[in-house]
């Protein structure tokens, strides 16, 4: 997947017409068959019977604004054996993602301006999709000393986060939020109280039966409540990531209108439960842990109702040596990019729990607005041509040989999925071609 030579490039004077796709963009209200003409990397017009120098027949396919993932670990720098900017962005493109935020828990940690500027330069050369740098909130992610947020921002960071760790002191977190507000950077919070989170899976019936140490839901809820109270008091722009419990979702619902607060949940917390603990396989270890079905149901309802604004994958590649272990010894984390849409489409949309329109809004429009900066994100004239073409009728099995990521720690391997990404465009450039010759642009 690293060969970019086959990509169809659109020159400045070379229009491309995507003909006959069902265009769905909740932000602009589009929901029907239409032609979309692209020019100079942007959407030029949307309508019927449009003309263009080249065209691409998309009958029977759906065209969405490209998906946006504000939470991914591309393991670069430091763990390029697990993922690189090249492979991570290829995996993102294969999942229909056109913009991704990279988390700072790398080696070295992204807590100094020089690391940020180095990553920004590498992204320009190595990434297939738009990739943004999240810098650390505290030096070394230690939850003590503030990072030089304003210099990090000047170097190119778009947000700050100590993701992977919760800030344990409320006083420290409050100070960080106040400073982030001055720096004009949103804070992404991984909410976890480490004095409560002493286990490796959710503490519940499944962990009790399996004999695996559990962490209670309160490990997330207590930290979420504290973070939300501080977000309201400081007025900082705060995003709570990977909300996984019913109570944390309800807390977000209570607080969000009182502050500048947004939240996401993950595809795996929406589709899998702590039943998987029974397998005792290291593959299913993730943080926050998979929760019981009641939590999954309430988190899904919160996403449907807009209390949780969007979906983020927490794409977390690990080499097999770190996952093919007993649960207690395995590294936490799942791959996320390639299966996010098919898994959610299969489980939630086909399951009648979420409309296709809300899913697209939660994967494209809402996170696109959150990142902002780059102007309009959507299928409207003037917006960058960041698009995902999807075949909703496709049934397929997710197998190791279809993996694009450098790692293979996906809990969906072997699963039947409905809906498949057939093409992803970033700025009018085809960065993922899932259909080979069928998808070639014709003149």
């Amino acid at each position: 997947m690293t060969d970019g030579s086959a990509n169809a490039r659109i020159g400045a004077h070379d229009d491309l017409l995507i003909r006959g796709a069902h265009v769905l963009d909740p932000a602009s209200g589009l929901d029907g068959v239409a032609d979309v003409r692209l020019s100079a990397g942007h959407v030029a017009e949307v309508g019927e019977n449009l003309r263009g120098t080249r065209h691409l027949d998309a009958d029977g396919l759906h065209l969405f604004p490209g998906f946006v993932d504000v939470h991914a670990h591309w393991r670069t720098p430091g763990r390029e054996d697990e993922e690189t900017i090249e492979t991570g962005s290829a995996a993102a493109a294969a999942g229909g993602f056109t913009s991704v935020v990279m988390m700072p828990n790398t080696d070295p940690i992204v807590d100094r301006p020089v690391v940020v500027s180095g990553l920004v330069r590498r992204v320009e050369r190595e990434s297939r999709v738009r990739a943004y740098v999240s810098a650390a909130l505290h030096e070394g992610l230690k939850g003590e000393r503030l990072t030089e947020m304003r210099l990090l921002k000047e170097a190119g960071a778009v947000c700050i986060s100590d993701d992977g760790l919760g800030t344990q002191s409320a006083g420290v977190l409050r100070n960080g939020m106040l400073y982030a507000k001055t720096a004009g950077l949103p804070v992404i919070l991984h909410c976890e109280d480490h004095t409560l989170a002493t286990g490796v899976v959710h503490e519940g019936v499944a962990s009790a039966l399996a004999g695996v140490p559990g962490s209670p839901g309160s490990a997330e809820d207590v930290a979420t409540a504290a973070a939300l109270v501080l977000a309201v008091e400081t007025g900082a722009k705060v995003h709570v990531t990977h909300v996984s419990t019913a109570l944390s979702a309800a807390l977000v619902g209570f607080f969000k209108r009182r502050g500048d607060i947004t939240a996401d949940t993950t595809p795996h917390h929406l589709t899998l439960t702590d039943e998987m603990v029974g397998t005792l396989e290291g593959m299913y270890r993730v943080n926050p842990p998979l929760r019981p079905n009641g939590d999954r149901h309430e988190v899904g309802k919160a996403l449907k109702d807009g209390i949780l604004d969007f979906v983020a994958t927490d794409h977390a590649p690990h080499v097999s040596e770190e996952k093919e272990l007993p649960l207690e010894e395995a590294a936490p984390g799942f791959l996320g990019h390639e299966t996010a849409f098919p898994a959610l489409y299969t489980e939630l949309v086909r399951g009648g729990k979420l409309s296709l329109s809300r899913l697209v809004e939660a994967m494209s429009c809402a996170p696109g607005r959150w990142i902002g900066g780059g102007g309009a994100h959507g299928i409207v004239a003037g917006a960058p041509a960041d698009l995902a073409l999807v075949d909703l009728s496709e049934e397929w099995t997710f197998r190791p040989d279809t993996l694009v990521s450098r790692s293979s720690n996906s809990p969906y391997l072997g699963r039947r999925l409905g809906g498949r990404i057939v093409g992803t465009m970033v700025g009018g450039e085809l960065v993922y071609d899932g259909m080979g010759a069928k998808f070639e642009a014709r003149t």
């Binding site: 003590e144 000393r145 503030l146 030089e148 210099l151 106040l178």
Partner: protein, 307 residues
């Protein structure tokens, strides 16, 4: 106008400020004006201070007063005598004015409740430092021509407003004098309800210049704000990048003030402190005349001057 105590400038009026500064000008004109002859001024410093203590002592002596100096070391203060007991004792010994420096806000006000002597606040905790703001106004108005020249001027107060007693006196006093004030500081160095002051909050000294600041009033940033376990500012590099006054800011003809002591290279670069744009030496020099005036007004000894 009746002055008894100088505790705070929160509610100072333009006329009151003008009266103090006019009197200060008289002291500055003639070197020795013995308005306080036969009076006793006591300096009670419960917190270390160099320039303020020296300035008050000179001010009192030049006005002819007898001066008793109690510092933290070598006095009953060190033995744990309370603020109130110290003040009552000085009162009983016949002090006409007691100048108090104390680490806690409100100390001067508390002392005033127990003293017959006039109480002059020489800085209490993060509360007030009225004579600093008065000498600042004196230095600035002298530099600009006269007191009326202050009206409509734009002053940006830069730095650690949260922990600054100087800021809490300077802001209301400057506004009372007709000056437009803005604040330049990160949220971690501002009081949480700073909006109540109704002042513009600017993100950097560059923005203050764009705002039209004619004076940059820089505040001292204490080292521990940057070096504690969870500091309010990430580093000297970041702080100075956005909040330090450097030579390039002087191109706009802006004046620079600082209450001292200066952290060169942190809130102000070394070449600015003693540049032609700096009023720092004028501020220090203004202190003596202004404090003589304050002491004279406090003990009601201005008649001799008029005579």
């Amino acid at each position: 106008m009746q002055f008894k105590n100088f505790l705070t400038l929160e509610d100072a009026s333009r006329d009151e400020l003008r009266e103090v500064l006019d009197l200060a000008r008289t002291y500055q004109a003639g070197h020795m004006v013995p308005t306080l002859a036969g009076r006793t001024v006591c300096l009670a410093f419960f917190e270390a201070s160099t320039r303020t203590a020296v300035s008050f002592e000179l001010a009192a002596r030049r006005a002819g007063a007898d001066v008793i100096s109690l510092s933290e070391k070598g006095s009953a203060i060190q033995k744990g005598e309370s603020l109130i007991d110290t003040v009552v004792t000085l009162d009983a010994l016949g002090a006409d004015a007691v100048v108090i420096r104390h680490p806690s806000a409100g100390a001067a006000r508390l002392a005033a409740r127990y003293a017959n002597a006039a109480i002059v606040n020489a800085g209490d905790g993060c509360g007030q430092h009225p004579t600093q703001a008065l000498l600042d106004l004196h230095a600035l108005s002298t530099s600009l021509g006269d007191f009326d020249e202050l009206v409509g001027r734009k002053v940006a107060v830069v730095g650690d407003v949260l922990h600054s007693r100087v800021a809490r006196s300077v802001i209301p006093a400057f506004r009372a004098a007709g000056i437009e004030v803005s604040l330049v500081a990160p949220n971690t160095l501002l009081p949480s309800e700073v909006g109540a002051w109704g002042l513009p909050i600017l993100p950097s000294v560059d923005d203050a210049i764009d705002w039209g600041a004619e004076v940059l009033y820089t505040l001292r940033l204490q080292r521990e704000r940057m070096t504690s376990r969870s500091p309010r500012v990430p580093s000297v590099a970041e702080y100075s990048r956005f909040y330090s006054v450097t030579k390039r800011h002087l191109n706009s003809g802006v004046l620079v003030m600082h209450p001292g002591p200066v952290n060169r290279g942190v809130e102000i670069s070394g070449d600015v402190v003693l540049s032609g744009s700096s009023l720092v030496p004028d501020q220090v020099a203004s202190g003596i005349a202004v404090r003589s005036a304050v002491l004279a007004l406090a003990v009601g000894a201005t008649e001799k001057l008029a005579a």
